[in-house]
Symmetry: C2
């Protein structure tokens, strides 16, 4: 079975290859009659443009990469699906492919060379770790890139994030409005912007809060809560900097004989699926992940279309989702 080429469509329509190409690409300078002839020829032959050939001359791959952190952390990340659907929602209608890449040995390098050899038009980088060299390399080479989340060190790069500080403040205000007297927080890792901002935002609202550190994992949430109950048994309100940690912490509270929210109110962060699998369901700070992902896609597309366009990061407003836990 042979593939139909533009040449063939042109022959059937009785026009030149150039005109057929114009119709395929929606140029406006084609006579109505000829346009119809070409369109008929396209549908009668079942023509589909060969992307490789087009790509060769336009120097666009019409594909972008989504570079995810190492597998272990990602496997538990309930955000992933929302990110993917937000990005594809923007990108698919434009015929742009979304290529998924996980950080493994050498994979970040892979993505870089895919970008350099024109196989990918740009990448969205999720969760770069501190001191990750990739973002800097990308901006140095002028390659289109958008970061999910503000980078730890300031650099001239487009990112999309939620206002973490404001979100944590929301949580603080909620606990205060619940008339909690002894308030604590379980933090995220302090070498990440999100971890830092959620702490500072919360402390600004509740300056005398007890601070226990976690690292965003479920296990660390459980461990931190054990520590908290030991050092501060009269706590009656906790802001836990991720739903996943809250998910690990709440059973510890139960085992410690506390009822949630009656004895201890709990507010999480993320509004991930973990918020719904908790018992009771989590009051949490919502990040509009899907919208943010869509915005990342739009920003990336803009950079691809207009290279070296100015850096314009976007910060979304978080909101409080009140459920049962606090």
């Amino acid at each position: 079975m042979r593939r139909v080429t533009l040449e063939e469509v042109a022959r059937v329509a009785g026009v030149s290859r150039a005109t057929a190409s114009r119709v395929v690409n929606g140029a406006s300078t084609v006579d109505e009659a000829l346009r119809h002839a070409v369109e008929r020829a396209i549908s009668s032959t079942g023509y589909l443009p060969n992307i490789a050939a087009r790509s060769l001359v336009t120097r666009r791959a019409d594909a972008i990469g989504l570079l995810l952190p190492d597998e272990r952390r990602m496997l538990g990340d309930p955000h992933l699906a929302s990110v993917v659907s937000g990005v594809t929602g923007v990108v698919r209608p434009l015929g742009v492919h979304l290529v998924l890449m996980m950080t493994g040995p050498g994979t970040r390098e892979q993505a870089l060379s895919d970008l350099r050899c024109g196989r990918l038009d740009g990448v969205i980088l999720v969760h770069t770790y501190p001191s990750d060299p990739v973002p800097r390399q990308l901006i140095a080479e002028g390659l289109p890139v958008v970061l999910a989340g503000r980078p730890l060190d300031p650099m001239p790069i487009t990112y999309v994030d939620v206002d973490q500080t404001a979100g944590a403040a929301l949580a603080g205000r909620r606990l205060k409005s619940l008339r909690c007297g002894k308030i604590a927080t379980i933090t995220g890792p302090q070498d990440t912007p999100a971890g830092q901002d959620r702490l500072t935002g919360f402390m600004a609202e509740v300056p005398d809060a007890v601070v226990v550190h976690g690292d965003f994992t479920r296990q660390s949430g459980a461990a931190a809560m054990e520590q908290l109950l030991r050092c501060c048994p009269d706590v009656d309100g906790v802001f836990i900097a991720s739903d996943l940690m809250a998910n690990g912490a709440i059973p510890v509270l139960h085992r410690g004989g506390r009822k949630v929210p009656d004895d201890v109110a709990v507010v999480g962060f993320d509004d991930s699926t973990a918020a719904l699998t908790s018992e009771p369901e989590l009051t949490t700070v919502r990040q509009p992940i899907s919208d943010m992902a869509a915005e990342m896609a739009r920003q990336l597309l803009r950079q691809i279309t207009k290279p070296r366009s100015p850096v314009t990061s976007v910060v979304f407003e978080p909101s409080l989702v009140v459920r049962e836990s606090g």
Copy 2:
């Protein structure tokens, strides 16, 4: 900044483009001295092959698609990440891209035309719904495709699945060995092969089990458990056909005053992350999702390399993971 071409590498190395190409593609018939010259030229110029040009002549896109079901169901699917990592693990080292596609309006058609126009070499289809026309279209056109999970209607298509029946039997045997007297099951949707097989496999082992239907969602698990407690309050062992449903069902059990596993033993299916977020943690039937995904990738790659090769489906053995719930 200009891109380096093969032509340039050849000039620097003092050979023809053909020889340079041979070195790049690892042909064995190149003299050691020349090979080294070319390799030096490649690294000194920073040459990277242009994929579009290569693709144009080899007629391979070196990209495969992962076609996922509609977003709503997928968002809650904890398997996704394992599937992705299993597939990329096989496919990336070979330089093959994984393109993620979600079923939206017209997206399945998109995937088909991507396949037809050579933009994708093959697809992995996850969760086709009953009477989905896409699998048949694909096999009719001889396009490489692998199904995740046995199709409902038998058709000559390669699929990878776990032995659902055997897995459910494992669950049944576990509950019997726990000396449960009154055993029940909450099923998956009976219009899916997994839903059917998990029921029949379980019933073969526990013929007198009480049957309540669910549809694999958390909500349906909760609803089914309420129904079960009403119609059969003395139940002391339940096989729930998905961890997600078990996740919804266990709180209902608690609210009904039953302790898990003391009063009611619970066994789930999937060994998804939902099994770990349950309280207590779920005893469940494990499907080696990541291995299965890797196998799907291998099968697909084989089909791409050797078109029209015979259909060879692979069925994996499930295993029982004993945790706290039963």
